[in-house]
């Protein structure tokens, strides 16, 4: 078996202490050498490590405050002089240098684990560190814990996370920064009894997260019960959730338990909770607050023991603002610790492994495999055995990694690039559908396989079909974007004109995206990542989601 290379850490710190300490406490890792030192002190020294894929470290340990000369200080390495203003500017740059460095790093390595070590405990700083996807490490207020051992433990934890499986059942984790953060939060929250809210756009895997990860990790002995509010008529919601007694409504011919009772001792997952009627919300709040449910038509309440996890496709705070969702229920769902599923466009680093995972499941399917085997036979290849490996090839793979495969499904490079650049508004679900359609076409409607000189069966994936599938997936987005147009100006000053145009574009995008700020961000800026900034700007422009609807 191939030995795994030792983990490589780049320490970026003006002081040598962190590197010295890690060298002592983590003798099994390699601290990258910078001109004979075990730490880099500036971007000038660190940049080379991000220029070539082969040199990128596994983890970066980054300090926040750097006392280095102006010529090395980001953002512009400009000599600052000796005036009072220059001295202030120098101090500010030095105090925040770690954030400037992280920003540069993120341009070249968007998902690399970075441990930011700092003495700050401020919310604006935390926000900034979070925006830059730092695996932030704040020296805690508990002085006893403020030693380097805590840092070494954190480095170990991040290195262990590299080894964590990519999937849990059908749930795909990947290794992106957003999912690393989610994995940590899930590990911390799953064993608690707290009601939880899972948020995120459609198709991101909220259901799999709850069913295949949260419930098993909860340690609860009872069953997992899923309930989708969108699939039950409003008039039957209460009965379905809490049960009913005979005669409670027309057709209630016997007593029936609701999903709360069915999930006793286990996990009740209430999906698309935004569709609950106000009456049902009130009953749900009672169930969460008092631990009891009352069957429809019954006079007695009965205790329940289900742990409740909910999910929403929309921003529930907006629903509260509109008056269609109870504020007290939202508070009870602990929105401050909500598990946010990132959109696929926020985690493009995960696409290669996600593709392999989807293709792997496709290849393991008995019907697909039998068909593939018949193509291999027809091409003159040896009989395909159950253990023979089939691989999706996108062009990123090392040739050595494909050596043992018996069959290759080859997607031309331009096709893969198109997939990586696509916005995927339907997220993983849509990505999976497109990839499975593509593989199915090669297996069931393609030209069969050709043997290459190593005797492997090569199936060509059809790029034209891929582009048609992507165009279909894009149709909704294109329609939305086409609706954006500039208004006829009425302003009399440049400042007013700018504002008028901005207000108009935000308003149009809001309607095109049907009030979904993540889609708005995609329409306006081409990425869902700026959702928060778009929302803030929307409010700052004096626009109101409630009034616009």
């Amino acid at each position: 078996m191939k030995a795994r290379r030792p983990a490589r850490i780049l320490v970026l710190d003006d002081q040598p202490k962190t590197a010295d300490l890690l060298a002592r406490l983590l003798p099994d890792v390699v601290l990258l050498d910078v001109d004979g030192r075990r730490h880099a002190t500036s971007w000038r020294e660190a940049e080379a490590f991000f220029a070539a894929k082969a040199r990128v470290p596994d983890v970066v340990v980054l300090d926040l405050r750097f006392e280095i000369p102006d010529e090395d200080l980001l953002p512009d390495k400009r000599p600052l002089g000796d005036s009072a203003d220059a001295k202030r500017e120098r101090r500010d740059r030095r105090d925040r240098q770690g954030l400037f460095l992280l920003e540069r790093m993120r341009r070249l390595a968007p998902d690399l684990p970075v441990l930011l070590t700092t003495a700050h405990e401020d919310i604006p700083f935390e926000d900034e560190a979070r925006r830059l996807n730092a695996d932030a490490f704040t020296y805690t207020a508990d002085e006893g814990a403020a030693t380097g051992e805590g840092l070494a433990r954190l480095v170990r934890r991040v290195l262990r996370e590299r080894e964590a499986p990519l999937t849990t059942g059908r749930f795909f984790w990947g290794r992106s920064a957003a999912m690393r953060d989610l994995r940590r939060r899930v590990a911390a929250l799953a064993p608690t009894a707290l009601p939880l809210l899972v948020s995120g756009p459609t198709g991101t895997g909220k259901n799999f997260l709850v069913k295949e990860v949260l419930h098993p990790l909860s340690g609860r002995k009872g069953p997992f019960v899923g309930f989708d509010c969108a699939t039950v008529p409003e008039s039957l919601l209460q009965a379905a959730l809490f049960g009913s007694v005979r005669g409670a409504y027309t057709g209630a011919v016997s007593d029936r338990a609701g999903v709360f009772e069915a999930a006793g001792g286990g996990t009740l997952f209430i999906d698309e909770i935004e569709n609950l009627s106000l009456d049902a919300q009130k009953s749900l709040l009672t169930a969460l607050n008092d631990g009891v449910v009352r069957r429809l038509g019954a006079s007695q309440e009965v205790p329940h023991t289900a742990r409740v996890v909910t999910a929403a496709n929309v921003d529930l705070r907006e629903k509260v603002a509109q008056g269609s969702f109870r504020a007290d229920l939202l508070m009870r769902l602990n929105p401050a610790i909500a598990l946010r599923m990132p959109s696929l466009s926020e985690r493009t680093e995960d696409l290669p492994e996600l593709s392999s995972d989807i293709a792997g499941r496709f290849f393991r399917d008995a019907a697909h495999r039998a068909r593939i085997a018949s193509h291999v036979r027809a091409a003159g290849g040896a009989e395909l055995l159950a253990e023979d490996e089939l691989r999706l090839v996108t062009g990123d793979e090392e040739p050595q990694a494909l050596k043992d495969a018996r069959g290759l499904f080859v997607l031309p490079r331009k096709g893969w690039l198109a997939m990586t650049r696509h916005a995927w508004p339907g997220n993983i679900r849509q990505f999976e559908m497109v990839l499975v359609d593509l593989l199915s076409a090669a297996v069931y409607a393609g030209d069969g396989a050709q043997l290459d000189k190593e005797g492997r069966a090569v199936f060509a994936l059809e790029p034209r079909l891929l582009f048609d599938l992507l165009a279909g997936a894009d149709a909704g987005k294109a329609r939305a974007e086409e609706r954006l147009s500039l208004p006829k100006p009425t302003a009399s000053t440049v400042e007013d004109l700018r504002r008028e145009i901005e207000v108009s574009l935000y308003r149009q995008a809001f309607h095109a995206a049907e009030g979904d700020f993540s889609r708005m961000s995609e329409i306006l800026l081409g990425t869902a990542k700026e959702e928060r900034a778009v929302r803030l700007r929307f409010n700052k422009l004096g626009l109101s989601a409630r009034e616009e609807r």
């Binding site: 002081q15 202490k17 300490l21 700050h120 207020a141 403020a146 030693t147 380097g148 051992e149």
Partner: protein
């Protein structure tokens, strides 16, 4: 609303927490060394070589002196008392590090821990003032 002076005080407190509070016990294990040699070595590392600048290696009292020169005017001596008291003990014991017995080393380590605690508390206090 916090004034510019409040913000300067907060930033100064953060710098002290970072430069002195963080590094003064950076190498300390969770439970203190029981062997005098190991404890002495660690105290030397953290207290004699607390920070390095382009020009020199600074011990813990020198790091505080540099900070005091740059930012000290923003604070009264009473505000800094909780830091300066244990730091005076460090200043007294550190030059005799090689000669100290285990009890003396423990006293020095305790003083260093007190400096760290005081720096963190000082930062919290000044930040709370700004937030208020």
């Amino acid at each position: 609303m916090p004034t510019a002076r409040d913000e300067s005080r907060k930033r100064a407190a953060t710098r002290l927490k970072h430069d002195l509070g963080k590094y003064v016990r950076f190498s300390a294990p969770e439970t203190r060394e029981t062997e005098a040699g190991a404890l002495r070595e660690r105290l030397g590392r953290d207290l004699r070589e607390t920070r390095k600048t382009a020009e020199a290696t600074l011990d813990a009292p020198a790091v505080f002196a540099v900070w005091l020169e740059e930012d000290g005017a923003l604070f009264t001596s009473a505000e800094l008392d909780a830091i300066t008291r244990p730091l005076a003990r460090v200043e007294e014991l550190l030059p005799r590090l090689e000669a100290l017995e285990l009890a003396g080393l423990v006293a020095l380590d305790d003083a260093a821990a007190e400096v760290a605690t005081a720096c963190f508390a000082f930062h919290r206090l000044v930040s709370a003032d700004v937030a208020a």
